[in-house]
């Protein structure tokens, strides 16, 4: 697998607004009494693979629909590539490619015809100039549809439609690609192919991606920056590595005898800082506390088999951010 995750850490926080290509400020959407999105302010920078995380119904798709002009925001503003993107202003959304809420294509047309007829919609002459037959074939090949390009889309499986949806989002030449649950319905190989395609396009062409998903593993493998949505609110946002670093870090200690281990831990830390887990104990302290803990245990005559630092996964982070949120 390619290891090209971009922007793993923000190199210069002071320049954070310098290369923002997509941002929302106080974005809100209400459906009657239901507030689907509340005061969401997200920032996507040039070259990001930005992961929008959240449970079903968290407001991810509604947010992206507003960004794409499919829904009218109740409040807040959207800016795309430096232009204010109000509802009903298509030109402001030039440069966006999108695949949202499942594959959308015309079943009566073939995959190639869908690309040929949909790609020119609203595209500049310059963009279409580089999107000839060869480019179309190449794109179909990249998403794994070259062999079925002449088949009508209504005969496609869900996975094939999904691939076509991604191809449509990439045609003719967007600067920002919004993918809403892009791996839904794909087999494991398809998931890997799409992940590698995103990483490659990001690395080679510098395309910015906004990927929404509830599949934490996918986001963890793909994205450099994430935003976590919960109950319509953006509860956290930032470089994935920074967020993970902020998470609760623990040491797993395998040592005997247990009573002596407990005595040492009680002496060093508050009672709620450690707990027995299986054959060992889990101590909630910073990873840099490992040498001191090891010395204390050995000094107390404890036989230490292992002290393993445990960094939080994205899942841990996600649970921590969403459990306490309203």
């Amino acid at each position: 697998m390619l290891d090209t995750r971009p922007n793993l850490a923000d190199p210069d926080p002071d320049m954070s607004n310098a290369n923002v290509v997509l941002s929302t400020l106080g974005l809100t959407k209400q459906f009657g009494a239901l507030t689907a999105v509340s005061d969401a302010s997200l920032t996507v920078r040039d070259g990001d693979i930005y992961g929008l995380l959240g449970l079903n119904g968290a407001g991810k798709t509604t947010t992206l629909r507003m960004v794409l002009g499919l829904l009218r925001p109740t409040g807040g503003t959207i800016e795309v590539l430096g232009r204010a993107a109000t509802f009903g202003s298509p030109r402001a959304r030039r440069g966006l490619g999108a695949f949202i809420e499942g594959p959308a294509a015309f079943g009566q047309l073939t995959a190639r015809e869908n690309l040929k007829l949909l790609a020119p919609l609203g595209a500049s002459a310059e963009a279409m100039g580089t999107f000839g037959r060869e480019a179309m074939d190449h794109l179909l090949e990249e998403v794994g549809l070259a062999e079925v390009a002449q088949r009508r889309v209504r005969t496609f499986s869900l996975g094939m439609r999904q691939r076509l949806g991604i191809a449509l989002a990439l045609a003719p030449s967007p600067q920002i690609v919004i993918l809403d649950e892009p791996t839904n319905g794909l087999d494991p190989r398809g998931i890997r192919d799409i992940r590698e395609l995103i990483l490659r396009l990001n690395a080679e062409r510098g395309l910015t991606f906004v990927v929404s998903s509830h599949l934490l593993h996918e986001i963890e493998n793909l994205c450099g920056r994430v935003g976590i949505m919960h109950a319509g609110r953006l509860v956290d946002e930032g470089p994935l590595e920074d967020l993970m670093r902020e998470g609760v870090q623990t040491l797993r200690v395998e040592a005997t005898p247990r009573d002596r281990v407990a005595a040492v831990l009680n002496e060093l830390y508050p009672a709620d800082a450690w707990r027995e887990v299986g054959s060992g104990v889990e101590v909630t302290v910073g990873l840099d506390a490992a040498p001191a803990l090891c010395d204390a245990l050995v000094g107390a005559g404890v036989r230490v088999s292992a002290i393993v630092p445990h960094r939080p996964s994205l899942e841990d982070l996600f649970i921590a951010r969403t459990e306490g949120a309203p």
Binding site: L70, L71, A92, I100, G102, Q108, L121, A169
Partner: protein
């Protein structure tokens, strides 16, 4: 390539591929042939057969093309395909305009094809000859319109019905612009477009500015003339009559497109 042209190209491709337009075309052509062959006219009375067929074609088109207009946007919205268009940077008025142009062009083209088929069928099945005016007693026919004059008049009256036949799909498009429910859109569109026809049939009243009247009046006049009923020929040959057959449907078309654009402009794409 301009957005509107690209949208028209997409809509035209979909018209060619979808079953509904094919069914509409097939049904109308069938109606044209059947109406011509079973018009009950004799040798040399082909004009009557053409007039009968044209009236049936017009009535069929009013109903069926309104179905086409009704599903133009709502059908795509219901299937989710509308998203494929709307996530692209295209103007909403352009989306509506493209649908309006393709639906109206389809209706007009289909009318032309069907009338041509009816004419050819009548030509070979019955032939055309001079129309004899009938006396008030209907017994002693007198020389009326010569074949050449009747041919000109027939073409003129058939063409005058054309602009109004572009209106039913445009009216239906207004409904399609506000709902994701294609079935509801179809029912409402049929009520709105066939309503005036049924109203006219039941009450025998005519409302001159209605699009159905503008479509059927020239064809009814043709039928009367073909039967040898003496009409005020100068009325239907008058430039004012021609102008009326153009500007009134033109106003209808502009109003329908404006209403559709306004309604679709504020519509959210939920499906």
């Amino acid at each position: 390539m301009s957005g509107l042209f690209a949208l028209i190209r997409l809509d035209a491709a979909l018209l060619m591929r979808r079953r509904l337009p094919r069914w509409i075309a097939g049904t109308t052509v069938f109606a044209a042939v059947v109406a011509t062959l079973f018009s009950g006219v004799g040798d040399g009375e082909g004009y009557q057969a053409v007039a009968a067929a044209a009236r049936l074609i017009a009535a069929t088109l009013v109903g069926l093309t309104s179905v086409l207009g009704a599903v133009a946007i709502s059908g795509d919205a219901a299937s989710g395909a509308l998203r494929a268009v709307m996530v692209r940077p295209v103007g909403r008025p352009a989306v509506v305009l493209a649908h309006a142009i393709t639906c109206a062009a389809f209706s007009v083209a289909l009318y032309c094809v069907c009338v041509s088929i009816a004419w050819i069928t009548a030509r070979y099945a019955f032939g055309f000859s001079d129309v004899m005016y009938r006396s008030s007693l209907g017994v002693f026919p007198i020389q009326g319109l010569e074949e050449e004059a009747m041919n000109t008049l027939q073409l003129r009256l058939l063409l005058l019905a054309l602009p109004a036949l572009a209106i039913p799909p445009l009216i239906a498009l207004c409904i399609s612009a506000v709902t994701d429910d294609a079935a509801t859109a179809v029912v409402l569109a049929l009520m709105v477009t066939l309503g005036p026809l049924l109203f006219g049939l039941i009450t025998d009243e005519t409302i001159a500015w209605l699009f159905t009247e503008r479509a059927l009046h020239p064809l009814n006049s043709l039928a009367e003339l073909a039967k040898g009923v003496q009409l005020h020929q100068d009325v239907v040959s008058d430039a004012a009559y021609t102008w009326q057959s153009v500007w009134q449907p033109g106003c209808w078309a502009l109003a329908c497109v404006a209403v559709s654009c306004t309604l679709f402009r504020s519509r959210e794409v939920l499906a």
